[in-house]
Symmetry: C2
Amino acid sequence: MTCGDEHNELKWSRAAAEEAEAVASIKCSGHGRASLDGLPIEGKPACQCNSCYSGDDCSVLLPNCAVDSGSGNPLFLEPYWMKNAASSAMVVSGWHRMGYSYEDGSYISKELEKVIRRLHEVVGNANTKGKYILFGAGSTQLLNAAIVGLSPTPPQNYTGNHSFSPANVVASVPFYQVYKQQTDIYNSLSFKWKGDASLWKNNSDSTENFIEFVTSPNNPDGRIMEPVLKGSSVKTIYDYAYYWPHFTGISSPVDTELMIFTISKLTGHAGSRFGWAFVKDRALYERMENYLDVNSIGSSHDTQLRALVLLKSVLKDKARGLFEFGHGAMRKRWVTLNKSVSKSRRFSLQKLRPRYCSFFKKVTHPSPAYGWLKCERKEDRDCPAVLRAAGVMGRNGSVFHASNKYVRLSLIRSQDDFDLLLRKIDALVSQE
Amino acid sequence: MTCGDEHNELKWSRAAAEEAEAVASIKCSGHGRASLDGLPIEGKPACQCNSCYSGDDCSVLLPNCAVDSGSGNPLFLEPYWMKNAASSAMVVSGWHRMGYSYEDGSYISKELEKVIRRLHEVVGNANTKGKYILFGAGSTQLLNAAIVGLSPTPPQNYTGNHSFSPANVVASVPFYQVYKQQTDIYNSLSFKWKGDASLWKNNSDSTENFIEFVTSPNNPDGRIMEPVLKGSSVKTIYDYAYYWPHFTGISSPVDTELMIFTISKLTGHAGSRFGWAFVKDRALYERMENYLDVNSIGSSHDTQLRALVLLKSVLKDKARGLFEFGHGAMRKRWVTLNKSVSKSRRFSLQKLRPRYCSFFKKVTHPSPAYGWLKCERKEDRDCPAVLRAAGVMGRNGSVFHASNKYVRLSLIRSQDDFDLLLRKIDALVSQE
């Protein structure tokens, strides 16, 4: 064998590849990672430590550090990607996809579309046949697009008389706060936030238009949800961010009019801001597409390439590796947390049932993304404060328009965050 | 020398780097390029040809093909990036920046922020000191954020009485159509589109609120613009997408309250959807940041890394290479197009003046992004149709709310598109 026999010589990509591998090889004790775009220390890339860890190599656990169990930062999947480094690496040339659109004039990579449809088929969680696809900056932008797309347009020069009604936007408490924020922020004549869906149960066959968000499994409590409102004047936006085998048994493929997904809770790449929607109705699809065009001229080509690389990597073993890892991690965390909380009379967690999972071809036991913890004592009116005092920073029940008898504990963060959470909960429970 | 002496052995990035280099080496006769995410032919990556070119290697010029001179697809810079392949290559690991936020909890890469501020200092086109920075999905999303951020909030339960006035949003004709589309799409109570700024010149010291878009240099006609409206009830959004040495002499750094930039017309990476805004006022910055959070939870980390890599590459020679290439290309195209049109009495182009450019340290002659072509004959009322008949697809004057005596011809597209445009214009002029 002579030099260069085994491998092709790399030209323009070598220096960037060497830099990326050098950064990746920086040791952070398993409690952090270095990034190409991390803040350098003395001009060199440095470890970015998980919260509560410190030191050049992240080896120091800070004493009395409050654990962040707030945001749904899906770092539980980071170890999976570290193990699958070769198939998930992405190399991009400086002149990659500079133009606004793809070959067909759209803002959608057809290769990525194919891979997404294939993934749903392999997982069996959604029927995508005969449905249009849209890409967005996370599911977040698509939720916006759906509200605008489903709402009526007021007559020209409308000045507020009552011959026109906006769409009433609702969700079931507890719900993901972004639905309300997005509805409120534009002060639109076309759509108005109207709170809890159940308040309108008897109104829903009126002439007023309703848009209901249905999140299934639900954020924060992991329940499988159905619409509360029905009838011809009701449109439903199905947010299926968590309808993956990590978090629930996939009983059957969903097949609704408007289905929204995100890569954030599927592969864990929340920072990529990539989501997609399947839309049955052509006119709605066109209205949503127009919104995405006007809002941001489509979605980043760099992000689309990243999603393509990641999902192709996932599909290499028909997604078994990803979901076995993900479900395994989530199930273990749920069991451990329940074991700890079950010793307590002061706290309780939501009850979830086993479900048959057609992907795993067996009944799977609960593995939700979040614990929806309740303070059972009457005097513990401010459950978030009880947890804060014990060094646990969850997300207040009130953020989900529920009472502060509840706190959402994120179970999808890094293993460090989970381990610390458990330690704090154990300590809190042992005080009883 | 022994094997592997010169270079480190690459591990996880090698296969992806080899794949990217293999795709990049596909020969497309200089009339196209292959992409990692291109539609494969028989399972292999294939050339994606420039419009009017065809064949496996894009070597066939289609006869009688209409030239696309419509969109501002900034492919004129593609050859620059092909020449600077090594410094602009990006290698990303599968676990890069999976979380929602950066180390400091924000959605903004601090390294990228530094590089952007440095670039403005080197170019001398904007004073960024003491200003907050925001990132968006192109400047597009930031224009939205600015409208929402600058608009008043109606009183709670407002039902359309007249004690509350929305912000009146205006721009000077001819203007970029997205300003109107974004204002209209939400049917907002907080902001209303009110057309041409000059219509409101005498109203602007009234109690009504105005938001004026000022695009300088202007899209479509390349003029340096000043606000039409002034006074305490007027807010100005400065869109500086084209305020780079490619397109105009940089006479002095701009230093306004709200300045919006985009990578699309700077490096040519329109497909990346990346822009930034500098904001002087803290309260406005916070409102815009909240909008970006609610609209998409910040901007893609993949895109931010790409922008970092590209801008670091640009700064390697203090941006001389990029702007000498870019200005050279644009100036040459403008001279050539003018030469052709100057032989005509039927058509004319906008007149632009030379300006001193502090970046090049000399007077530079006009090099606008677009030709704003006028049909001078009285009977040529539909100038776009005149051009269409000659095989030139420009953008109608009416799109910019001007008359269809005008057509915008994009000069920032690929060299092929420009060469074809020139051929068609030459032929049209020679018919006179």
